[in-house]
């Protein structure tokens, strides 16, 4: 399966839409264990992405598009999720520099680069109650499925399920990174907002690819 530049732009549009629809929900999750701004931050960032992408040259490759998304997020989101998701998209862009089409392997590379970027930036690991708890299981499920010759749309569905499980798991653990870590044990019982926005983005990707 080949993913075109147009498909990538469709995925980004879908993410913008899903974040907008979940703005209140994400903020509500952040009000329980943070500072009640995650939905506002993310929506502000992805609205800016939408505007920015409308102005980039027609012939931009996928790497440039993803890097532009990252650059826009680092300067408009505001909260910790800004440099984290911003770095993720910039690293993903570097991983597919110059490409106008993506293969299955490129999608894996994108996930790998994004995850590594978030880890480099935030120094968190799986189990710290962050976005990594959704993204890492999704990455592993995707990679394993593709290695077993499962087609990309189905492999992405499995990645979404893994992300969802990871997101739900954050409810049972206490935060060791980010603002919620100030609450320690008292953060147990609440789903992490960043793990939720990551799940939503991965789901947006899978939904668009499954409709192609």
């Amino acid at each position: 399966m080949v993913i075109t530049k147009e498909d990538v732009l469709k995925v980004i549009d879908k993410i913008v839409e899903v974040i907008r629809e979940n703005k209140e929900y994400l903020t509500e999750l952040d009000s329980a264990i943070g500072d009640a701004d995650h939905g506002i931050n993310m929506d502000r960032g992805f609205e800016a992405v939408k505007q920015k992408l409308a102005t980039i040259p027609e012939n931009s490759d996928i790497g440039t598009i993803l890097k532009t998304v990252g650059m826009t997020l680092v300067s408009t989101v505001g909260g910790a999720s800004g440099p984290l998701y911003g770095t993720a998209f910039m690293r993903a862009g570097q991983a597919v520099q110059g490409k106008t089409e993506l293969t299955e392997e490129d999608v894996v590379k994108i996930f790998e680069a994004a995850l590594q970027g978030i880890k480099d930036r935030g120094k968190a690991q799986a189990g710290d109650k962050t976005m990594i708890d959704s993204i890492e299981p999704a990455y592993k499920a995707l990679k394993e499925s593709l290695e077993n010759n499962i087609a990309l749309p189905e492999a992405l569905k499995r990645a979404v399920n893994a992300a969802k499980e990871g997101m739900e798991y954050t409810k049972n653990i206490s935060a060791r990174k980010g603002r919620a870590s100030y609450l320690g044990e008292r953060s147990i019982g609440h789903i992490d907002p960043g793990a939720t926005s990551s799940y939503l983005m991965i789901k947006a990707l899978a939904d668009v690819i499954n409709l192609l």
Binding site: G78, P83, L84, G86
Partner: protein, 130 residues
């Protein structure tokens, strides 16, 4: 002279620290501030930090002071974005924002070099208050 950039989630915090530090050094030290988002919310903007580093750079290095949360990660992102040209010339001090800024600025104002300003800023975290 070594430049200094102050980074916080809150614009008011960096404006306040700037006022305090600038008075002590009588405007001699180039000090930049980055705080809040372009649309006036609490938050940090890596692109603004990049701009401020460039603005206060006099060729002798720039020390960045940060407070908490995204200030640290945005400053690290900014250092990465500044790239090779700034490698080794811009560093984030592992120091408290207010105390570190005062120590760094006073040190810079007497003409100390980059490494010295950075060290003095980082020593501020060991300062006993009582």
């Amino acid at each position: 002279m070594v430049g200094i950039v102050l980074v916080s989630h809150s614009r008011k915090i960096v404006e306040g620290v700037f006022e305090l530090v600038n008075q002590m050094t009588r405007g001699k030290v180039p000090i930049g501030i980055a705080g809040g988002t372009p649309d006036g919310r609490l938050g940090t903007d890596a692109a603004e930090i990049v701009e401020q580093v460039k603005k206060v750079d006099r060729g002798e290095g720039v020390v960045v002071l940060v407070d908490i949360g995204s200030a640290v990660m945005s400053a690290q992102t900014a250092v990465e974005l500044l790239g090779e040209e700034y490698e080794g010339k811009v560093k984030i001090a592992d120091a408290p924002l207010v105390e570190g800024a005062v120590a760094a600025a006073v040190e810079a104002s007497i003409g100390s070099d980059f490494e010295k300003v950075l060290t003095v800023a980082e020593e501020a975290k060991k300062m006993n208050k009582l």
